[in-house]
């Protein structure tokens, strides 16, 4: 097991968040270099060549996205997405907590690359202390001349606003996030137009995940080839995985993409805690399909391999599930989450998430029938691919995969129910 330090070199260090420490360790050199060269197109090109893919979940190449801003746009905005609300995901908070200046330097360079003069860092509402931490870093950066007018004498201006969300998962979706900052109801907009063309205040806007942004300074300093030396051809670089569940060493890890899960599990995480056996893994946050133990042991942790295995790398929020865990109970928790967080704007998601939630709750309440499993599938079919944003799919993917891979557990529960003479714990028609 090797250490990878593109993103995580200051993790766990009590003073890592301070400007002095960051500068001492080479911080803001990338920014100086970029401003000296004064060529936004070159920055975009470098990031494109590095092959950096968006770490917010979709894995879209960052440099390519930057290129979607219309040439000669007068007013451009840059947003750092720190809404991190996907269950199982807790990597961005590490980046901002231990090393806010790295993300901030990335923000300034990225804003320069797309010629934005106002950037927002949108922080999940529950991360109250992070708002203070990031704001302190922003204040330090202003004082040191890394922000404001005429940064480092380059003529480039940038203001950064730290914005605190109110705790809605859907505000992590980029257009929901933009609406939320505009003071509208936090719900996604229909696309097209895409934010890169018409986003904040109707102007071209780039939204990037914290981790994507935090990777930028290193790429600038070391060059795209150095970055490509890590990872695979199509999934270059390193990625943070936040691991939860009864493994010996849960936490946030920086790994080179393409690392075999087996190796990660045994060598890095130390395997399961005593007395627990691996049952399944959700590799990329609650929204991606679950993989049973035998399947997950054969995958590599990169975008393509995981896609081939029928799941996704997502946010890298890895949830390790032990044998002792009841999969129906787990899916009930997840279905409640999506039901609770659906913005309710479009019908298949609004009604479908509620319907799934109620059926699963009914199953767990001892009122399930054989027909309910078919009904769950039916509801999933009425949601998948038919909505404004991917939240509906994010609910459907775990639901379908739990049903597909762990059907016997659902069936056993239903039989048990039938045998027990359908005693009712949750009254039918109960409201929420």
């Amino acid at each position: 097991m090797k250490e990878y330090n593109i993103l995580s070199s200051r993790f766990g260090r009590p003073d890592g968040h301070k400007l002095a420490v960051y500068e001492q360790e080479g911080g803001y050199k990338a920014l100086r270099a970029v401003l000296e060269q004064n060529d936004p197109a070159a920055v975009r090109e470098t990031v494109k060549e590095s092959g950096l893919r968006g770490r917010g979940g979709a894995g879209f190449p960052t440099g390519v996205k930057w290129g979607f801003v219309p040439q000669g746009a007068e007013e451009v905005y840059f947003f750092v997405n720190a809404d991190e609300s996907e269950p199982g995901t807790f990597k961005d908070r590490f980046l901002l907590d231990y090393d806010p200046h790295q993300t901030l330097e990335g923000t300034i360079i990225s804003s320069f690359a797309v010629q934005a003069h106002l950037a927002f860092i949108y922080i999940r509402g529950e991360f109250g202390w992070l708002v203070d931490r990031v704001q302190a870093a922003v204040d330090e950066a202003y004082a040191a001349g890394y922000l404001g007018r005429n940064i480092l004498g380059s003529g480039f201006d940038l203001e950064v606003i730290v914005h605190k969300g109110a705790g809605a998962y859907i505000c992590g979706e980029e257009t929901g996030l933009i609406n939320s900052v505009e003071g509208r109801k936090g719900q996604p907009s229909i696309k097209p137009p895409f934010p890169a063309v018409a986003g904040f205040l109707g102007k071209p806007t780039i939204v990037n995940n914290v981790e994507s942004v935090a990777s930028v300074p290193w790429i600038i300093t070391h060059g795209p080839e150095a970055y490509r030396a890590f990872g695979t051809e199509k999934s270059p670089g390193t990625k943070l995985f936040s691991v939860s569940g009864p493994v010996k060493k849960p936490g946030v890890y920086e790994i080179p993409l393409g690392l075999p899960f087996r190796e990660f599990f045994h060598d890095w995480l130390g395997g399961m805690v005593e007395g627990e056996k691996l049952k399944a893994v959700i590799v990329g946050g609650s929204s991606v399909p679950v993989l049973p133990a035998d399947e997950v042991m054969n995958v590599n942790l990169d975008y393509e391999s995981l896609q081939q295995a029928g799941t996704m790398l997502g946010s890298g929020g890895m949830i390790v599930i032990p044998e002792s865990c009841d999969m129906v109970e787990l899916i009930q928790v997840l279905m409640h989450f999506y039901y609770d967080e659906s913005c309710g704007q479009c019908t298949p998601c609004r009604e479908g998430t509620g319907w799934l939630h109620r059926i699963v709750r009914r199953l767990r309440g001892g009122e399930g029938t054989d027909a309910d499993l078919g009904l769950l599938e039916h509801v999933c079919n009425g949601m998948a691919g038919l909505t404004i944003c991917p939240l509906a799919d994010a609910a459907v993917m775990p639901m379908r995969s739990f049903l597909g891979k762990f059907r016997p557990e659902f069936e056993a529960l239903i039989q048990e129910t039938a045998a027990a003479g359908a005693q009712t714990r949750w009254p039918r028609g109960e409201q929420e």
Binding site: Y339, E341, C346, T347, R350, R358, M383, T387, E430
Partner: protein
Amino acid sequence: MAKLTIDDQEYEFPDGTSLFDACRQARGEALPHFCYHPDLPVAGVCRLCQVEVEGMPKLTIACNTTVRDGMVVHTRSERVNKAVQQVLEMHLINHPVDCPICDQAGECGLQNQYMQYGLYESKVPMAAKVKKHKAKVIGPYVILDQERCVLCSRCVRFCNEVTGTGELGIYNRGDRAELDVAPGVELDNNYSMNTVDICPVGALTSRDFRFAKRVWMLKNTRGVCPGCATGCNVRIDHEGGRVYRLKPVYNPEVNGRWMCDRGRMTYKELHDERRLLRPFAGGREAAWTAASVALADLLRDGGFSLVVVGPRASLEEMFLARKLAPADAVVGGPADLDRGEGDDLLLDGDRTPNRGGLKTLGIPEPAAADLAARITAASGPVLVLGGEPGRDAGVAAALAGCGGLVVIATHDGPSVQAAAVALPGAAWAEQAGVFVNRQGRWQGFAQAVARPGAAREGWRILAELAGLAGVETAPQSLRALRKEIVDTVLSEGELDMDRMPETGFVPGGGER
């Protein structure tokens, strides 16, 4: 232009055309939809207008897509039908299905589309549905049933974008989302009832029309709102001689798809208790024959020495009225009457429908004081029609002192009270006619309901008066009258007033 294929046929549409509109034209009927509305910004929330575009992996909504050259679109494929069915089902799972007590039943988007894509078995037991408010009064004219709402956001967009008043919003999230007025606010703008029209289900209904009639029993007649000089095109919904409601009719040149609440309520005057139902002669109710005798007596020594024709008369009535006295003795009602505050959407400050007609025929409108003076100075009989000039006190006093006053009226009022002979005329929904609006646009309307009591069409009454007054040139049929109007005011054959163009007619072309 973009050439594209829709359901295996080629079509051409101008660039920028919405795929939804293109499909509507190609199919001859709209795609299933709740949220799309041609006059509102696209919301894309109902997810019903799914179509298959070749080369795109997922189905896509037509309402947020513009036509592209070479597009190949399927709107009736297996995949599309399945998706529409599923999305429709999602719309219904929390719907109360209280159609038997819903005013929208019969003109409901949910009912209609469900029948078409039919899934008849409910998979959700009644008791398990999400419960919300029913019958919540949200403004002077509108009542809300949140359970029936499909959250299409049309009404919200209307109040945000058309009136700019923003009273409505969708509160809460997920399937707890519900439409409501903002706290402490009423849906009280002059266009509020348009939300009832655009609501595709029975969530927003009219308090005025509530439980009044099943919609499938109503007959419809095309009309023009008499409420102001804008002349919004309306559909008069009526049955058994009663008008139940007015709905706006699309006229891109006049009112688009909207009308104001004030205008919508004008039908009430048709049925109010002040309607003049029989002729009066010498202060007493009389039969038409008796009234004619009195009139003949009055007009024995010649015609009228003054005709006052108000802006509520039809163009036909105005034209005939003009023949009953010398040109300089035919005047309009007081110019300052029936004026209010207009707005920049539709409502005009001139609250009468046909000042444009007076202008077209060159009939001057004196100020109230001048009119009163002319009435007082009249040496012989005076005729009043097309409105109530006596709502001005000075004019009312002059009328009261007038010996030979003849009035054609729809309602009782100061002039009727002062009249030697009062004749019940037909109101706007009770006869055919033309109003000329503020743009100078001629707009025709048809008879919707029977005339109440002994009321007669205005032009017939005027034709009879012409006979009694010895005017020989009065045409004896509406057709002949209209032909004469066209030949006199326009150039011969320029317009067939019996077949007015859909959007009305502006002499000399489109400009106002």
